[in-house]
């Protein structure tokens, strides 16, 4: 599924969107780490349908998924 990337994650991945496969957010995380080892040590949160995920959230593949590095607004 399509995953949106922001900030330093988009920079490291060289794109602001990646295709990743997984049935839950933890699987997408793991796949992202494998595909982009240059993101090692970078913390990020995940959002599903524009809400931050706590824990591991199952996915049906139709959600809007994003990986969010630390916020810096203001």
């Amino acid at each position: 599924m399509r995953v949106h990337l922001f900030g330093i994650l988009a920079e490291k991945a060289g794109s602001d969107v990646v295709e990743l496969e997984g049935a839950a957010t933890d699987e997408l995380r793991a796949e992202f780490r494998r595909r982009f080892p240059n993101t090692k040590g970078l913390m990020f949160a995940m959002a599903v349908d524009r809400k931050v995920v706590n824990g591991n959230q199952p996915l049906n593949g139709n959600e809007e998924v994003a990986m969010l590095p630390p916020f810096a607004g203001g």
């Binding site: 922001f6 995380r29 913390m43 524009r50 995920v53 590095p69 630390p70 810096a72 607004g73 203001g74």
Partner: protein, 168 residues
């Protein structure tokens, strides 16, 4: 200026916030005869100095911050924050929020929160709370661009950097 309806409104503007925009925003409230207090917060980009590092030969300073955002999520969270703020300070008459996107040079304004109420307490408390909530909850990202062309990614202090720390 009638603000109590919580439709999603765009807080983002491209480029720095012009002081003239602040004046115009203030001036619009002269027709509201029940307002006694305006509280305004403005964020300005600092030319912070940073030490040399692996990818940076010597000390340098921040020349600009380039802001990006996950727009749809930021606007949804802002709508929640606005609703909560009006619930917490029911006497508040209006609340305006603006945040810059794009490259904002040091010395320029990038963030503007403006609340008005009959008495000062509500506007004062609401602005402090809304500023803190925006910094903590809105998916906005800032690339600090240094004078020597290197860059780093800004992280808000005293804000949990992610919903779920990832140490994998």
């Amino acid at each position: 200026m009638s603000e109590k309806k919580h439709k999603v409104r765009d807080i983002f503007i491209e480029g720095p916030i012009d002081p003239q925009f602040v004046a115009d925003s203030l001036a619009k409230h002269a027709t509201r005869m029940d307002i006694g207090a305006h509280e305004l917060f403005l964020g300005q980009v600092r030319a912070d100095g940073v030490a040399g590092a692996d990818d940076r030969p010597s000390a340098t300073t921040v020349e600009a911050i380039a802001f990006t955002a996950y727009r749809d999520m930021a606007l949804e969270r802002m709508t929640d924050i606005r609703e909560e703020a009006f619930a917490l300070w029911p006497s508040m008459i209006c609340l305006h929020v603006h945040h810059s996107l794009g490259r904002i040079p040091a010395g320029q304004l990038c963030f503007f929160v403006f609340a008005s109420s009959p008495h000062r307490k509500a506007a004062r408390e609401a602005v402090a709370w809304v500023v803190d909530r925006i910094k903590a909850d809105l998916p906005i990202f800032g690339k600090e661009i240094f004078a020597d062309e290197t860059h780093t990614w800004k992280t808000n202090r005293s804000v949990d950097p992610s919903g779920r720390p990832d140490h994998q």
